[in-house]
Symmetry: C2
């Protein structure tokens, strides 16, 4: 992972922004175990041990030291890489023990000086990525048969405990001093930002009044009390530690349904930046800075899928669905972090619908194969990233596109879908008009955070319309039919299409980015809520509010004063 | 309703606060139809018509005119009074038609100049109260057999349309110009703040992409388009208007199960302010400003309940449960709006548990009586106000208290419950130790916004503990038993109790009020989410964030520039 300082100095109009904040670096989300500075990865049979031992001087940005195993975005990028590689490169691993390499301190959470010096946008984006990584850990446990176990060999404070909360099993060492704690509210005047409050009450079912005591008690609780309240699952003294952790890991591995022997190496992405164009195999992004927009084109496969699971595995990272998913994942992370000005992302596809459908049905047909299953799960997670991305997403469906099945999910994840009826008469009057196609994949393979498919969310509360849409699975729908069944926002012929789209994009780019972010976050998740949607909706929104308040981020706020020996100076009025 | 300017000048440390903002007035939530300046109330048989005709010069605060039927808190206080009186004073009313008294403009929503000049806290509190009033309208429709119908005789913009969204039936006049719209995002850079986004997708099931178009199209949609998308339920031209509205109101009234003939007059509250003490019959609040705390004591009934429904009705507003509920309602609103510094509310009760239980079982036994039913529903709504109140709530259970059934709900709504084990030896060694008692009322009569009882929320995901608690219904539990079954946070004897409580209250008062607000909002609603919890969680949190952003509230933000002919000047970076 490299951190090159962005040459374009970002203007800081927010009164709340720390004056001396570092210019955010250009962040690269690609890394490799050879370059890890903060995590150790050790595999022994079907159990992997990942060890957090943060290089204090390895911060992504200058201005802070990562003491006490505290983390910044760079540490988390490595963790994300660990999670991904374990899933793809190590089919044999069925349990993952996460522990720490320091004495008596597992992890002190997010680095406070880093938070204090960061811009609002940096803090928010940092929290989003770390939340996604923790959700990914839960996803590996639930869906990949890789159960994560938190072996807390020392205190897990704040984000350190939140990391543990993402694991299926939390064991805290009983050494008379180590605790679990969420000291953010009492010490920093902010919330635990990676799901702590939500997971304590909604996942671990800790009683509200106890959760209240816990989240206001900066020193936290030691083993016995933490166990009694359900904050951890077990506590053992040092002499029993290795044996007990080993036994629990072995038990988890024994329960795993995970299969496969030969992994798929996640080789470095084939990625080029040329001017304002970012290109990967199958994915290209063209940035239009003056319009604050990026046009993202996803290419369909160039040939038929391999015949069977053996053939798929042989293709490895070149398997079209995986290559495309990896590219989209990297692109989403890059644009979110490094290109805040680009408020609108426009998705197009290009290719042969029949080939997309062939791959789409292979993903379902071979779902029992560990690798194919992992590819589907990864695509699901990338789609979820889109759902929580604070950018306006617009899909444009034109001749030559291939929005079917898995690629149609990109359109369904978008805030709007514009489809050309017929062809561009002055460009290619002989083109075949665009069509879209639902497949079974759109009906539950890639659930959103709310547990519903994007199709189910689209027709939430309108069962007849949902049934009618489902009834078209397998059919090619032209613009009129797609509009009829409610799968596109607007179907227009070429006389109106370009004008309409131009106006829509111009208008979108003129609106308040904050209001759009709030609006999209409220529209995208209808119906039921889950731990996941609560984290990205309720928790994140409150945290963002708090991050904007002088009590946290003002010159005398708790975040900025942390470590000075002075507490935050609060305006005590409740809002 | 009176608005006396608060003599205590509030310091403004927030950089975002408008420099020329008016000092918030001391707001009184009591009013009476004789004093209405903005609403007309007309009753004809079983149909009431409430007409919005805002007095432009009747703003609660100076500095703005309430043009185009726009509203401020004062207008909404009257609406709340209308809703309450229709329920209690008019058992004969089974349908309520809400319409406007201006030509071609039903309501322009919240007054923008008012918002622009208001402090952050004022805006947030204003939104909370208006949201509660709209939820109350839905509650009347669903539970009181008083169906609210929005007869939009002109454009319903922003909060005007959100008012309509709270109604069961929305009819827009078809006059070639009137529309429904949510122009907040495009025109003001904020969200529709009273549930609009949530109700459009989650209540009316409008497709996400259409909701997106609607909420970014400032001029909105006229009747036909609005009807096609599900934004309204019907549209009629002027010549059919009265007949159609009348028919729909009659139909709604015909479906009502509401009974009762003689109403109960909501006579003025018997309320005194003396120094820092606020007293009502059965409820007293003692303010301790140096501790930023208010001690609220609820007194149990002084005698047995009336024998039957006739006797209850004869007591009217003096019926203990109603008198107590009215007092609590007024007190909550007063403290929230006028006493922002008091961050901790401590609840105590005083009285005879057996009498409380007698009333408690009467409320269930006579639930078929319209008036008793209304009293229960009102108490439910006041409890819900507590759930969304941004103050720390602590219940203290001591000898002489009567936390049973309905009064135990106050404790269950609290963030923590402290119970004295035994007695205060140095105060009254012969006192009877405190006990608490669950009744059937705690098991579903007063659901929270998430649809669960407070008991069910307390033991969410812990079915055995819930069953064990339920098993104690009807029993008196002393401190040890209450602790055992998980109904109190802590049971301590008098050697430790006072010290512990003092430390807890002091610590609480020292924490960041913003972090506490965010924490409490995340802890209080476990499990399922509903339109209601989404409005107070997700939507409100995002709105509060946006209200704090320079793009909305900064000197060049959209809110402050509204009406100047200049658009907001935005920092377009997405966060």
């Amino acid at each position: 992972m490299t951190a090159v300082h962005n040459e374009e100095q970002v203007s800081r109009s927010d009164a709340q922004e720390p004056a001396g904040a570092e210019t955010p670096p250009l962040v690269d989300f690609e890394t490799h175990p050879d370059r890890y500075r903060h995590w150790g990865l050790d595999i022994d049979g079907d159990v992997a041990t990942v060890t957090l031992q943060v290089d204090e001087r390895g911060g992504l940005v200058e201005g802070y030291e990562l003491k006490s195993n505290s983390y910044d975005l760079g540490v988390d990028i490595e963790l994300y890489d660990v999670v991904q590689r374990l899933r793809f490169e190590h089919p044999e691993v069925k349990a993952v023990v996460m522990t720490g390499g320091l004495d008596r301190m597992f992890c002190a959470g997010a680095n406070i000086r880093m938070l204090a010096q960061s811009s609002h946008a940096w803090k928010v984006n940092f929290c989003k990525f770390t939340n996604e990584t923790r959700n990914g850990i839960e996803d590996a446990t639930e869906h990949s048969g890789q159960t994560w176990i938190a072996a807390l060999n020392g205190t897990a404070a704040g984000g350190g405990y939140e990391l543990a909360l993402a694991c299926d099993d939390i064991i805290l060492i009983d050494d008379g001093s180590s605790t679990v704690s969420l000291p953010e509210v009492p010490l920093l005047g902010v919330l635990p930002g990676t799901g702590g409050l939500t997971r304590v009450v909604d996942k671990r079912h800790v009683r509200k009044d106890r959760a209240d005591m816990f989240a206001t008690k900066s020193e936290g609780y030691r083993g016995d009390a933490a166990l009694r309240w359900g904050l951890i699952d077990a506590t053992f003294p040092k002499r029993e530690w290795d044996e007990q952790i080993g036994a629990r890991a072995a038990a988890a591995a024994g329960r795993s349904q995970r299969t496969g022997t030969q992994g798929v190496e996640l080789r470095p992405l084939d990625r080029t930046f040329e001017g304002d164009t970012i290109a990967y195999p199958y994915v290209t992004a063209a940035i239009d800075r003056s319009s604050r927009r990026v046009d993202i084109t996803v290419e369909g496969p160039s040939g038929a899928p391999p015949e069977d699971a053996v053939g798929v595995l042989a293709q490895g990272v070149e398997y079209w669905p995986l290559a495309t998913t990896r590219a989209l994942d990297d692109l989403v992370l890059h644009l979110r972090t490094n290109e805040q000005d680009l408020g609108t992302w426009v998705f197009r596809t290009q290719g042969h619908t029949d080939l997309v459908i062939a791959y789409d049905s292979q993903l379902r047909g071979l779902a029992g194969d560990w690798f194919v299953h992992e590819v589907s799960l990864f695509f699901k997670r990338v789609l979820k990233r889109l759902d929580v991305t604070s950018r306006s997403l617009i899909s444009v469906i034109e001749p030559g596109s291939c929005f079917a099945g898995i690629l149609l999910e990109l359109a369904l994840a978008s805030d709007r879908q514009y489809m050309l009826e017929g062809v561009y008469e002055d460009v290619d009057p002989d083109a075949t008009p665009a069509s879209i196609a639902l497949t079974e994949s759109n009906d539950g393979t890639f659930p959103m955070g709310n547990g519903l498919s994007r199709l189910g969310s689209r027709f939430y509360g309108r069962d007849e319309e949902l049934a009618a849409a489902r009834g078209t699975i397998g059919e090619r729908l032209d613009a009129r039919a797609a509009d009829q069944v409610g799968l596109v926002t607007m179907a227009l012929d070429d006389i109106d299409f370009e004008d309409e789209l131009r106006i829509v994009l111009e208008e979108r780019a003129s609106l308040s980015p904050d209001a759009l972010t709030g609006m999209e976050a409220n529209h995208r998740f209808v119906g039921p809520e889950t731990v996941e949607t609560k984290i990205f909706g309720r928790l994140t929104a409150w945290q963002n509010w708090i991050f904007n308040r002088p009590n946290a981020s003002g010159p005398d706020g708790a975040l900025r004063r942390f470590g000075t020996g002075q507490r935050g100076s609060y305006d005590y009025r409740r809002v």
